[in-house]
């Protein structure tokens, strides 16, 4: 372990000479073979945001096609490939690795006052797995796009003439990346916490990454098994899922959702962790109900394993099983609603700053509430039968995954951006872009609820004339969304090039990542830290000359006996 670090640790003089992790080591290879969690995180960020761009373009093409019933700009087959690509890219390349690999990788060791993750080589291997998996997926797009939807349901996926095998192989390799990240985080959190940081003094983002990691390690192998069986069936003709070969297609759905139901909590849990951090810092106040939030994230991880059958109420599985799963799936509503309650309570009597990250928190609370509440319609048996596989489910999913995860991810990017790159961004354009994204998102997806409850099935190329106004409003909304993201790309690029230099602690966060330079030096900290209450916002005050928040008692955070190292 120590050797792992030595490869990236630089001389003591580094901090003094103004070097940081971005400037230490030059050239492409110093990035591609780095063991520094911060550089790996930046590479993930570039890779993941590129995937988001691709996935978003596929989504815009899908929405454009929906402007009119029947053909608008593409054939039915192209449309089927487009929504499949949108789903696969967004789920496997973007949103599953998104927060843990890109933000978590950067922030987790810093929050623990550590030099790096526990297993830096494994971290790099995870990134290479991601690159390999993503490349395999991209190649399958070029040689023969897949048209199965991101769910790869058998027997359609075992019989269609497209490149399903290579695509699933790509998803399999991506799964390894996810497992490695999760494993690394578990080991890091168990072994690398600083003196004084007991389990209940960890920042809640760390709790959420821990819960996420448990799901990643336990559930992802099942996806791997499922995809391997699918590949075996297609290439070797072994009858597992295809009834023509003696298999059972419903078995595939059990396998698939056994992973993919927990996977939606892999996607949302880290987002909840970000919100817990942001809501406290931007309310200028200690988080409310710390232990309840921490336990809620663990409870969600546990419940996540018990809900897979609720995707299958109409699959033909037995009514008794349906009833059991309906009861179980409601369980997840309790910890989720508890979190919302605690976030709101944190704002009570606070000093609420409306800086860009907080705007994303407010948007999150609004959209996540809708996403969560509409889950009640889908958890209840009789309403699920009507709404299953309609736009209603699509809208519910996007309110949680986009309105929840992506919005929190954006909040996190805006929050940690000054730390990551040492630059501030234009607050004015950040607000404009956040507003456009919020309005565009609601226009795009609220219309889908109405169409869905009226019976508009998902993945439809053609549709009834009555849905046209809703479809067109939704498409206009998606263009607004796209515009919002273009503005974001513009001001973030501008920030990188000529943004104002960021202070160490621009927001007043009390967790350890703010105790080092922006951007951090390669070995993260000059001194060894101790773990104090990460939400003790009152321990800091704004220093008027540096524009940075500083500790009222600077020595309180240092491990006294090893103060100067």
């Amino acid at each position: 372990m120590a050797e792992g670090h030595s490869a990236v640790v630089t001389p003591m003089s580094e901090g003094a000479s103004g070097d940081n992790y971005l400037t230490t080591g030059k050239g492409v290879l110093s990035w591609l073979f780095t063991l520094d969690h911060k550089r790996i995180s930046v590479m993930y960020m570039v890779a993941i945001l590129s995937s988001f761009l691709f996935g978003g373009m596929f989504a815009l093409l899908v929405r454009t096609e929906m402007l009119t019933p029947g053909a608008t700009i593409m054939t039915a087959d192209t449309f089927n490939k487009m929504f499949t690509l949108h789903g696969v890219v967004m789920i496997f390349l973007f949103i599953i690795p998104g927060i843990p690999a890109a933000l978590g990788n950067f922030v987790l060791p810093l929050m623990l006052g550590a030099k790096d993750v526990a297993l830096p080589r494994l971290n790099l291997l995870g990134f290479w797995c991601w690159l390999t998996g993503a490349t395999v997926c991209m190649v399958s797009i070029v040689v023969g796009a897949v048209d199965t939807g991101w769910t790869f349901y058998a027997p359609y996926s075992t019989t269609t003439g497209t490149a399903v095998v290579s695509m699933t192989l790509g998803a399999l390799i991506l799964g390894f990346s996810s497992i490695l990240t999760g494993l690394n985080f578990i080991v890091t959190i168990h072994t690398m916490r600083p003196e004084g940081m007991t389990w209940f003094k960890m920042p809640l983002f760390v709790w959420s990454l821990y819960s996420t990691a448990i799901i990643q390690v336990l559930a992802t192998p099942v996806l791997g098994i499922t995809l391997l069986l699918l590949i075996a069936e297609r290439t070797l003709g072994v009858g597992i899922f295809d009834p023509a070969l003696g298999g059972d297609p419903v078995l595939y759905q059990h396998f698939f959702w056994f992973y993919s139901h927990p996977a939606v909590y892999i996607m949302i849990l880290p987002a909840m962790g970000i919100i817990s951090e942001l809501v406290s810092v931007f309310s200028g106040k200690h988080i409310f109900g710390y232990k309840f939030i921490a336990w809620s994230s663990v409870a969600i991880a546990v419940f996540s394993f018990l809900g897979w059958g609720h995707h299958m109420f109409t699959s033909g599985q037995s009514p008794l099983v349906n009833v059991i799963f309906s009861a179980l799936v409601f369980g997840v509503a309790i910890p989720s609603s508890l979190m919302v309650f605690n976030w709101l309570a944190t704002m009570y009597k606070g000093a609420i700053s409306l800086a860009a990250p907080m705007l994303y928190v407010l948007a999150f609370l609004f959209l996540f509430s809708i996403g969560g509440l509409t889950g009640l319609f889908l958890g209840a048996l009789s309403t699920n039968i009507h709404l299953h596989d309609t736009y209603f489910a699509v809208a519910h999913f996007h309110y949680l995954m986009f309105g929840g995860t992506v919005i929190a991810f954006l909040g996190g990017i805006h929050y940690w951006w000054p730390k990551m790159f040492g630059r501030m961004y234009s607050e004015f354009w950040a607000r404009i872009s956040a507003a456009l994204i919020f309005v565009g998102f609601n226009l795009t997806f609220f219309t889908l609820f109405v169409m869905g409850s009226h019976g508009m099935p998902r993945r439809y190329y053609n549709y009834l004339e009555v849905f046209k106004p809703y479809q067109q409003a939704s498409t206009v909304g998606s263009y607004l969304l796209g515009l919002g993201f273009m503005i974001m790309a513009y001001y973030l690029a501008q920030s990188l090039l000529k943004g104002e230099k960021a202070p160490e602690n621009p927001w007043g966060g009390a967790s350890l990542e703010w105790e080092t330079a922006s951007p951090p030096i390669s070995r993260n900290f000059e001194h060894e830290m101790i773990g104090l209450d990460p939400y003790d916002i009152n321990a800091l005050e704004l220093s008027s000359d540096s524009g940075s928040y500083i500790r009222k008692d600077p020595s309180s955070i240092l491990l006294t006996q090893a103060g100067g190292e």
Partner: protein, 336 residues
């Protein structure tokens, strides 16, 4: 004031009209269970609206009241935990989801349990159409049912998974190859309602639609009688044309020479075709019969071997009528 206005909008959004027509959220109610499902939908909607408004209102009030500004740079002291409040909130959430689960469970029992006296219709899904087989063996592309009588559907798929969905009846059930799945409904209002395929099944997924035609109970028997015997009352060409329309041929074969998944029937009879293996055959009665019963034995070059077999699904007299119809498409007769 604002609250009463909001309440007014809410009641309008979640109101169910007396006549069972469409609302802002729901399609018309066409079956006995639709009312129950809509009641639960509106119940959950009511709870959701209350909680959503509560959350957003509290959030907005806090943002306005506690906004960081001149003279309010730091937060006022307030507790950072309150176990009693947490437990109360949790208890309310648990109570609500238990109630919602219970009502969902209760109406689901009705949805999943067909009455003993239900009229049974066999349903087959295939890419990309439906066929409905009546107890007397008659097959139709649309689902004709009597009103006010429970109808049970016994369904299976010929190829991949489909899903039988009638929004107006609030009924949905996957149609799975290698399995029989069942669903049932009792239509309440004569009229026509859409059937959709809700499980993605490829190119023609969104066109895999049909109608449910609900007859008054007195009209259904005579309709079935007349519909079942069309080959006796029509010429072979007319009968063949009807079979072409109702048995799924037209999904993939055009009669005007236009391209579809399979070869067009226009001027097909008597034509010489090149097969995928390079050999040449003439389209005659024997080839047509073979291609209906064993579709992938001799596939015309340029087409995929995707047609499902009609072995056991088309009788000899029906194949003969279809052949007569194809023969009539020689471009010489005026289009009907």
């Amino acid at each position: 004031m604002i609250l009463t206005g909001l309440f007014d909008v809410m009641t309008r959004l979640i109101r169910v009209p007396e006549d069972g027509g469409a609302t802002f959220w729901m399609p018309p109610q066409g079956s006995t269970i639709a009312g129950e499902v809509d009641w639960l939908f509106n119940f959950i909607l009511g709870i959701s609206v209350v909680f959503f408004v509560l959350i957003v209102a509290v959030m907005m009030v806090f943002v306005v009241k506690y906004r960081r500004r001149e003279g309010r740079e730091t937060a006022s002291p307030s507790p950072s935990n309150n176990t009693l409040l947490e437990i109360t909130w949790m208890a309310i959430s648990i109570m609500l989801v238990v109630i919602i689960f219970f009502f969902g469970f209760k109406s689901y029992l009705n949805i999943s349990t067909p009455p003993a006296n239900a009229y049974e219709i066999q349903v087959a899904g295939q890419k990309w159409d439906w066929s409905f087989t009546y107890p007397n063996g008659y097959v139709d592309q649309d689902l004709h049912v009597p009103a006010d009588r429970p109808v049970e559907l016994v369904m299976t798929s010929v190829d991949v998974i489909h899903s039988f969905y009638v929004p107006a009846f609030r009924v949905k059930m996957d149609v799975v190859p290698g399995r029989f799945t069942k669903t049932w409904f009792e239509a309440t209002m004569p009229g026509e309602y859409d059937i959709f395929c809700a499980e993605y099944c490829g190119t023609g997924h969104s066109d895999m639609s049909a109608m449910v035609i609900v007859h008054t109970s007195g009209e259904f028997g005579p309709w079935l009688e007349k519909a079942s015997n069309f080959l006796l009352t029509m010429t072979p060409e007319e009968g063949g044309r009807k079979l072409y329309e109702i048995r799924g041929c037209q999904q993939c074969h055009s009669v005007d020479g236009g391209p579809r998944t399979g070869p067009t029937f226009f001027k097909m009879f008597g034509k010489e075709e090149t097969l995928a293996d390079g050999s040449i055959i003439t389209v005659d009665e024997a080839y047509i019969r073979e291609s209906v019963l064993e579709p992938n034995a001799k596939v015309v070059a340029g087409f995929e071997p995707v047609m499902p077999t009609y072995q056991g699904r088309l009788r000899d007299d029906e194949i003969a009528a279809l052949t007569a119809y194809m023969r009539s498409l020689d471009g010489k007769m005026g289009e009907e």
